[in-house]
Symmetry: C2
Subunit: 627 residues, 2 copies
């Protein structure tokens, strides 16, 4: 197969890899060539499909080395956050489907237990891999299996509290557990806090661990000097040794620490993974990688390729965020307000660019706080700011706010600490799929006593709502808005702030109630219904919680009321709205359509909304069932 | 006032303290006598009112010293978890009200911003104090205030991930922030994991920090030896120094570390607090205390007095958990099933005794996992166990499950990993009040696709539901049950498992729908209604989600349906039930009463339910409005 001489493959190596077993048949010398082929495939496919390029380019050699040493699927490999599992998918029998990644009905952009036995655990949200790996390792021990479990976690994910809870429980567990710290010196935005500095410290002492041996040797030689210092030296030696051997964070947690190792050198990686495997106990391997490795555009600007839409592979170069999107409008408007009001602070959990907070600069930069991937801290920290009279705005993706539900309830709501939650990526997010859909926030937030929730459907409404949240609303407020642009149909509504609006016929017999971007679809649906002679109108809510009394009165006037909602049905505004109608003695027809008891798989948002019956066509056919 | 000679107070010192200013007027020598008086007050009041005795006895001197050094309310003192703030309350103008603590309309058992300007931040759930303190400190800096912020956190709370997120952000912040680690070597149950071992390591090296100076001295003297080792010594000296000065977890986080200090020696405490204050930067003070200090019963068994009902102060001695309560029935039954089924595992987040898991012993102890105060980890760890075919049951208080909402949704539900959540303290919990009420779980859990939720109203139903959850139900299951005993009225129903049950008249015109322990109240209400000639019955749900179709059909037969729910209204079963009726074309009267848009303050559960209109009397008067 593969010659041991100056190695030069004559045909594609990658095309021979249909399972990790095939990989393990290759000679070590062949692996760099395989890595080169994998990089080419990554760039080709991700430039077409969009996705997480930088993180996957950074982990090519490590993934190859992992599958070279560990025996998946018997050994379990977990990918924290999950978006760096593309190479893993290519090597575990999904090479031919790889071109479908993130496409509807294609491979998921994240590990999925249901997709492959090689995907040991679901991933999507950060910092949970060590906890899951420990569960898997304990189960193996209880079942008498001798498998190894590996969790690959980035330095960014390590700023999340659950990673620490995992380390705290795993380090002393005695299980066959390897934690591989993929340290690329950048989390999604620039890394923050003590952990990143600690890692940098270790990295800048490349000979640090060899030095341990040197110091021990020194003491042995000093001992030979004998005489006056002998006794002191013996006791001090022990103390220094203790200190040296308990000298970094991970050793404090009880892990054997191996590293740092060059994450782009297959040979070193294989050696260190083999050593880790042979120890049969918790080991942390500190691996240093370059995000975007091997693709100059991405190496220079990894943030821009974190989660990217499709782009031109030859030219590279794409903007981090479109100038024309809800996130951007939010960020600019908040920065404008903050310039005028010194109490306004902005908080982000490692999503400065994703949430549009890069506009916090010049005179207001000291009021922008990037706390790392630490949503719990972000919310409590905001509540602390608020308790002292500041006006903190925490900008966060809907799906990640789930991580801080308790803090919103306990630290913000109970004492009415005035925090504004800017809930980005609310609703269907598209290609990221099940783990990232922003469809639960309305349900879990609206149960919180005292909260006000806005859901603007246009840029102008978003600006109005932000002002209203900061200056006209008491207590905790959430403003939720979708990924991407405002629907063109809604840009025209730039009237003064209104908690709701009726669009269409006066005194309609059929009323479509909705909010957010699908208001545009409801308007189209009403047009279609009208063309069939139905007297219909849209009631668009802007303040979705508490539902304005006047909006309920409008609905009571209509005979047939239909609510459409881009969110989970249980605990939805549609359900609250129905409850209000019922309690008000409404005797007409009320039906609602929301996302009922299902997770929504990855697909372009437009397609997903179509499948859910939440576009104009779906709305019309739903209404037609009852009129 | 106070003599500097051999000090012996002639009158009560405590009676002179109406504010921290009064305290600071005392001579240092007087403080131990003051502490003695405080202890007596603590034992007297807590033995009557119930509450957290051990933790408050342990922190008497530290609280006195804190208020002696820091100037509350200008300086901000935060109490993590909050139940160790009794002494703080006594010293900050609430001495005379202290006898009302935890009583209805009395002082809260936790810090409350609304209760006093000295309560800088709400507390109740663990591990958030550092995050809140950092927010407060940042706000102070932005406002140009020179205040100090102090967070007091126990070693138990330090196992929670948010504490780590806070440390990671606070350590390098440059703010005037003191974190006081109250290390009593026990969290609520026995402490677990690497952090507790790390703290033990530091504690067992009492001269460790003095040793730093000794080693430096050694090197200076070695340097004088000169000759062959001189050069090597110089470079090694620097390396060893670096290691020594970066040698514990907290220094890794960027804090100045002071300690360990004896937490029962006022003088030492005042000295170390003054030093910390003078540093004007993040400092961590490691303080060693004895839980239950000064009360022999509590010192010997601090766990029993963690959160205790009232007891006999003279005799001490009370059981950790009643033999007759839902938690206990659950723990025994799960242990019984686990003895027969080797796949069953039990997981707790530092609440082994509170949740009844102490029955996991003998042959099954290796399947009980106490992960520390780390609910996020507990859920993901359980999902990891489940991914490998184990049957994990995570027993957790409803209010603390809020901390792991994201993990339940992402790590359990999306991949259908079979985890059973045993949700203890569901519903009104009584004296712990707002921060601890278990009234949100139904709302946030029922939105999760694929989940099944049971809410047994009797011990027998709890056992049936547990069996059903483990063996008859696919995917994620929650079983929620209240604190305390089953209502006597419900113990009689020991029929085979049923998802719901109708109690009372056949074909009633008035149907009261409910679930859980207030079913007993609904039965009483129906009796009362019947005595006034109303044909009524109770529909008691056991499986509350998804609502059984047959239960909806039962309700459709009745003309007037009333739902009573011991939980938050938004996202309640009552709301889901109404939605189902509405969509089924129900034309009768439907009204529900649940906890609407409010937090429920501390009061005995019975009183709280009365105020909420959820006892028989309230139900009857509610129904009478509509018939």
């Amino acid at each position: 197969m593969v010659s041991k001489k100056v190695y030069q493959p004559t045909e594609s190596l990658l095309n021979q890899i249909n399972s990790p077993e095939d990989l393990r048949k290759l000679d070590r010398e062949a692996l760099p060539f395989l890595c080169k082929e994998i990089r080419e495939m990554l760039i080709e496919v991700v430039s077409k499909n969009g996705g997480h390029l930088s993180s996957n380019l950074g982990i090519v050699e490590a993934t190859v080395a992992l599958h070279y040493v560990f025996q998946s699927p018997e050994d379990k490999i977990l990918w924290d956050v999950g978006h760096q599992a593309y190479v893993h998918k290519i090597l575990t029998g999904r090479r031919e489907q790889f071109s479908t990644i993130r496409q509807e009905n294609g491979l998921s952009g994240f590990p999925k237990q249901k997709e492959s036995p090689h995907d040991a655990f679901v991933a999507g949200h950060s910092s949970n891999s060590i906890s899951a790996a420990l569960g898997i390792a304990k189960a193996a021990r209880l079942s008498g299996k001798e498998q190894h479990t590996v969790a690959v976690i980035g330095d960014g994910a390590l700023t999340g509290g659950e990673a620490y809870e995992g380390l705290n429980n795993a380090g002393r567990s005695k299980e066959r557990l390897c934690v591989i710290l993929n340290d690329n010196e950048v989390s999604i935005s620039k890394n923050v806090g003590a952990i990143s500095k600690h890692l940098a410290n270790i990295r800048t002492k490349p000979h640090y661990f060899r030095a341990k041996d040197r110091i021990e040797g020194l003491f042995d030689r000093l001992g030979a000097v004998g005489r006056p210092f002998k006794k002191l030296i013996v006791s001090v030696k022990k103390m220094v040794k203790d200190s040296l051997y308990d000298s970094n964070l991970f050793e404090n947690f009880g892990f054997v620490y191996l590293g740092p190792v060059d994450g782009h050198d297959c040979n070193s990686l294989i050696d260190v993974f083999q050593r880790a495997k042979s120890l049969n106990r918790p080991v942390l391997i500190h691996m240093h990688t370059t995000k975007g490795k091997g693709y100059s555009f991405a190496e220079e600007n990894p943030g821009a390729y974190h989660g990217a839409p499709s782009f031109d592979a030859e030219k590279g170069g794409l903007d981090i965020i479109s100038e024309d999107c809800f996130s951007c409008v939010f960020g600019k408007e908040l920065a404008r307000l903050a310039t005028e009001d010194p109490a306004i602070c902005a908080v982000t959990a490692a999503m400065k660019y994703g949430t549009g907070l890069q506009y916090f600069r010049d005179g207001i930069r000291d009021r922008l706080f990037d706390v790392g991937i630490a949503e719990q801290h972000a919310v409590t920290f905001s509540a602390g700011l608020a308790a002292q009279g500041m006006k903190p705005v925490f900008a966060v993706y809907s799906t990640f706010l789930q991580r801080a539900y308790d803090q919103v309830l306990e630290d913000c709501a109970i004492e009415n600490n005035k925090v504004v939650l800017a809930v980005d990526r609310a609703g269907i997010v598209g290609e990221d799929g099940e783990t990232h859909q922003g469809i639960f926030d309305v349900s879990f937030l609206s149960a919180i006593p005292g909260i006000t929730i806005f859901s603007p459907s246009s840029y102008q409404e978003l600006k109005d709502d932000l002002f209203s949240a900061l200056y006209r609303t008491d207590g905790l407020v959430a403003i939720r808005y979708p990924r991407g642009k405002e629907p063109a149909e809604l840009a025209v509504f730039d009237a003064a702030f209104a908690p709701f609006r009726v669009i269409g016929e006066e005194a309609p017999s059929v009323l479509l109630v909705t909010y957010g971007r699908i208001t545009a679809q409801a308007i189209l649906a009403v047009e279609a219904l009208k063309s069939h002679g139905v007297c219909a109108a849209v009631l668009q809510l802007n303040q979705i919680h508490p539902i304005p009394d006047e909006a309920i009165l409008e609905a009571l006037k209509a005979g047939k009321v239909f609510f459409f909602e881009e969110g989970i049905a249980k605990g939805s505004v549609a359900e609250h709205f129905g409850g209000r109608l019922l309690q008000a003695g409404f005797s007409g027809t009320y039906r609602f359509r929301a996302i009922d008891n299902q997770f929504v798989p990855h697909a372009p948002a437009k397609n997903a909304l179509h499948h859910l019956g939440l576009d104009a066509e779906g709305m019309v056919s739903f209404v037609n069932q009852f009129i």
